[in-house]
């Protein structure tokens, strides 16, 4: 019965909420909030519970709940809650669509996490995909098709994987995996991983993300923070839960890393690098964050590919962190767009003085993104680096490390371009974001801070997941975490940092010191007085770097896809000519067809 309560709370409640908020449009945003709140809060009593059931709606839905499901639900439902909270101010009142589709997406996502057979997985996966598609359609209609095509590509890759699995086992159940030859596993895993990788926007399947992430920001926070984690979950499930370590090792090993996982790790590292480099050159805030998302999920892919306890643990932890900090960033961008109506970094500037709390939350999220040790973002990155270094991978490790340096560049571009620098005259009267928006961001900030001080708490959960999947165990205690080649203690770090911060605070702000606050136009410009000129140096921020990269930036996967599609569409036009609209031709087709039928028939006799 307990699983029914789980199924009810995590899948049916959002579904009912979706229906209700469509019917009661007037209160849709609040209904959405309430129905997102229920699963997010109800999650806590479910920690550590293991249960399973079968729901028969004509097809059998095998559902189960375990710690992996719980861990991923923790991110998804919290992010969804924050997004809905944010949306109460963001979305126009009396609009039912947003809440309905968000809750549909949430139900789909929770269903994916609870599914224990491929049919169920696919049903919920597609439900999540199309509700997200309509949400993308609502605001960035131009590019919704791109999202849809890739969502469907992902689904069809999954179908290929599922089908081959079905061929060997005759069942959709995860637990039915036995007696599949290694070549079968190779194809199954390849298709499943590629399918899930689309959702994670892994290079070269990432081209949908920069366009889809232009939609309504609270939804994008959920899409990037929450739904993309389903890709992580799927890959984790496919590789370590369905196939298992033994089969992965069966492909042969390279320094005790499965030869099957290694290419994906390299792909992930490339994704991290390419995503970062492309993010540096974006002027559109949302696009920048999208490329950053691509890059960060590349790290997760590295961890999943390497498959050591430290790597997979790091990947799960990084996915967790990414869910929260990227959601904050998208919500922060949403708050800025809500207040100013602008999303080009070069058109903003100086908003940190008008929206201090938004700035602080975004700053904190950026600390997490860049991996500054005062947030838990550092710890997950550290785990991934050490995982690559302890196995001496000289291709993956440098790519990841340099990508994280590149992350500082685009992080500063956001900070400087949007929140620092000169405030435009036009934004003189911009107000702080409304309270629900700030509350949403604050909610998301908490875990990043808590797990930076007590990494042991989250590592305990991750350890449970890893043990459950027979990957191995992590070495950690409440404040510290270790790899085979190093380790770090957050308690020492925090105490020292706080002490030193106080010392510099004392040195800096002695008693009775008077400091004059001057206007932003009172700054040194060789004595010039140009008060009416916008002097915010955010346009084309990394131009020198861009010039250097220009020869490489000419090659774009995006354009390659476009060329590919164009080639096919031209072919389609040719094929269309078969329908000549001439009845004589048509009659001839009939004759030819009859001949062919006969010939085939005779041949078969």
């Amino acid at each position: 019965m307990e699983i029914w309560s789980a199924f009810g709370i995590f899948v049916l409640v959002p579904l009912i909420g979706a229906l209700l908020s469509y019917l009661a449009r007037k209160y849709a945003v609040y209904l959405g909030l309430i129905f997102a709140l229920v699963p997010a809060i109800a999650l806590y009593p479910f920690y550590g519970k293991e249960m399973s059931t079968v729901v028969n709606i004509g097809v059998k839905l095998n559902l189960a709940f375990d710690v992996t499901t719980w861990f991923f639900m923790l991110m998804l439902d919290t992010v969804a809650l924050a997004s809905m909270l944010f949306a109460t101010s963001y979305v126009r009142k009396g609009e039912g669509g947003f809440s309905t589709l968000m809750l549909l997406g949430l139900a789909g996502a929770n269903g994916v996490l609870m599914a224990r057979d491929f049919l169920t997985l696919y049903i919920f996966w597609e439900m999540m995909s199309w509700s997200a598609y309509i949400l993308v359609l609502r605001s960035s209609g131009e590019y919704a098709r791109r999202y849809m095509l890739f969502a469907v590509l992902s689904a069809y890759l999954l179908i290929m994987g599922i089908g081959i699995y079905y061929y060997y086992t005759g069942s959709f159940l995860y637990s039915a995996a036995s007696g599949i030859p290694l070549s079968g596993w190779a194809w199954i895993l390849l298709f499943l991983i590629l399918g899930f990788a689309v959702k994670m926007a892994v290079f070269p399947l990432h081209v949908w993300a920069p366009y889809a992430y232009r939609s309504e920001q609270p939804f994008v926070a959920f899409l990037s923070g929450g739904l993309s984690k389903l890709g992580t979950f799927g890959i984790f499930m496919a590789m370590y839960s369905i196939a298992g370590v033994a089969i992965l090792q069966g492909f042969g090993t390279f320094r005790s890393i499965s030869l099957f996982g290694y290419p994906f790790a390299v792909l992930g590292a490339f994704t991290a690098f390419i995503g970062t480099i492309l993010a540096i050159f974006q002027d559109d805030l949302r696009k920048l964050l999208a490329y950053s998302s691509i890059g960060q999920l590349g790290y997760v892919m590295v961890g999943l590919g390497l498959g050591t306890p430290l790597a997979v643990g790091g990947a799960l932890f990084h996915a967790f962190n990414h869910a929260f900090f990227k959601a904050i960033l998208f919500l922060g961008a949403g708050a800025v767009i809500y207040r100013t109506g602008k999303y080009r970094i070069s058109e903003l500037g100086g908003l940190g003085y008008r929206m201090p709390f938004t700035f602080l939350f975004v700053l904190f999220a950026i600390f997490a993104l860049a991996g500054i040790p005062i947030t838990s973002g550092f710890i997950s990155k550290w785990m991934l680096y050490e995982a690559a270094i302890e196995k001496k991978f000289v291709l993956i490790a440098p790519l990841m490390l340099i990508a994280s340096v590149g992350a500082f560049l685009y992080c500063f571009r956001i900070l400087y371009g949007v929140f620092l620098g000169q405030l435009d005259k036009e934004h003189e009267n911009v107000k702080e974001a409304p309270a629900p928006m700030l509350a949403a961001m604050a909610l998301l900030m908490l875990p990043l801070l808590i797990f930076a001080i007590f990494p042991g708490w989250i590592l305990k959960w991750i350890n449970e997941i890893l043990t459950g999947a027979n990957i191995g165990t992590l070495k950690y205690d409440t404040y510290a975490y270790y790899s085979s080649i190093g380790g770090a203690d957050m308690l020492v770090f925090w105490i020292t940092f706080m002490l030193l911060f106080m010392i510099s605070m004392y040195l800096f702000t002695r008693k009775r010191k008077v400091t004059k606050v001057v206007d932003q136009y009172d700054n040194y410009l060789a004595g010039e007085t140009p008060p009416y000129v916008q002097l915010h140096a955010a346009h084309n921020f990394y131009k020198p770097l861009r010039d250097t990269w220009a020869p490489l930036l000419r090659y774009s996967v995006d354009r390659a896809y476009e060329k590919f599609v164009k080639f096919f569409i031209e072919g389609f036009e040719e094929i269309k000519k078969m329908y000549t609209e001439n009845p004589q031709d048509y009659a001839a087709y009939l004759g030819i067809a009859f001949l062919i039928f006969l010939l085939v028939g005779w041949w078969l006799l």
Binding site: G352, Y353, K392, Y416, S483, I485, T496, L500, L545
Partner: protein, 323 residues
């Protein structure tokens, strides 16, 4: 009782070491000015000149600030650089217990820079924005070879811990003897890390009015000067710790307190040498444009560092040398 005494002694020692480190940094800045002046055939200021400068800045009678974010710069910069110093073994003496993880150190090094960049950005001066942009681009440039160098060390010594690295160097030979190619690349990267010529484009005073520093004056500038003094020690000391055994010539386990004194002196001499190399190059070179710097770093030093990495890889993984 003894616990508290230990903690107090440790705290006192830590404070002493940090204070000494900042002083060494200021002294080095003075020495640099003197040496540069001698190379220019000038007399140059006294070597304690930078102490006077910092004193004057901190004693300035008025300060300006633009907004509350402006204060991030001195606070984060100084706290961050002190934190980095606390994590860095100086003369074999490491202030903080723990594993002294290199990657943690790398990220701690970012804290002051980020705080500084925030304050600079908040000054609303376009020169500051341009300066920070260049600094970050330069960072992306020199980190490429530097990370490869770090990787070669971590692979060769099979550790990510600075403490273990020092111990292993103490028991065998300095890393520069086995990985000279990497050391060369690291030194070139160090030049950019310290923003000495030819890589001082981020703060080019004649072009963008000292870049990120443009709006800082008085107290603020004084704090930032302390930060840059600290970061000189951090950067040179990092190189010494990585390649020159951290200046440890006597094993503290054997010689006790004597070892600490001797090691400190040797460490000082070594960072002085490293700093002098940087200063000599600084004194005679013109300035790279930022894209030239980027191209340079991602070409030659990266190639050298990759060679060094290959050497470390071959020795460690293929030949199976374990230190």
């Amino acid at each position: 009782m003894t616990d508290w005494a230990n903690i107090l002694i440790n705290a006192g020692l830590t404070a002493l070491y940090l204070f000494l480190a900042i002083c060494v940094g200021l002294l080095f800045m003075g020495i640099a000015r003197k040496v540069t002046a001698r190379i220019h055939n000038r007399v140059g200021p006294p070597i304690y000149q930078n102490f006077l400068d910092v004193g004057k800045l901190l004693a300035k009678k008025s300060n300006i600030k633009h907004n509350w974010i402006f204060d991030f710069a001195p606070l984060f910069a100084l706290a961050g650089v002190l934190l980095a110093l606390a994590y860095l073994p100086m003369g074999g003496y490491r202030l903080l217990s723990g594993d002294g993880d290199l990657i943690l150190l790398l990220y701690i090094l970012v804290i002051p820079a980020l705080g500084f960049a925030l304050g600079a950005g908040a000054s609303a001066n376009p020169n500051a924005g341009v300066g920070v942009m260049r600094a970050l681009t330069l960072m992306l440039s020199y980190e490429m070879p530097f990370l490869l160098v770090l990787l070669s060390l971590m692979i060769y010594y099979n550790t990510a811990s600075l403490t273990t690295l020092l111990e292993k160097q103490m028991h065998s030979v300095w890393a520069i003897d086995v990985l000279p190619i990497s050391a060369l690349a690291a030194d070139i990267a160090l030049q950019g890390m310290m923003m000495e010529k030819p890589f001082d484009i981020p703060i080019a005073p004649h072009e963008i009015a000292s870049g990120p520093l443009v709006e800082f004056g008085g107290n603020y500038l004084g704090m930032l000067m302390l930060y840059s003094a600290g970061s000189i020690v951090v950067e040179t000391s990092l190189f010494v710790d990585l390649f020159l055994g951290g200046g440890i010539v006597l094993n503290p386990a054997v010689y006790g307190i004597l070892a600490y004194v001797v090691n400190y002196i040797v460490w000082f001499a070594l960072i002085f040498v490293v700093w002098m190399i940087a200063i000599f190059i600084n004194a005679v070179f013109p300035r790279f444009r930022i894209e030239q710097a980027f191209k340079f770093y991602w070409k030659w030093p990266t190639l050298i560092a990759a060679l060094g990495l290959a050497q470390a890889y071959i020795m460690s993984v293929i030949l199976g040398v374990s230190v």
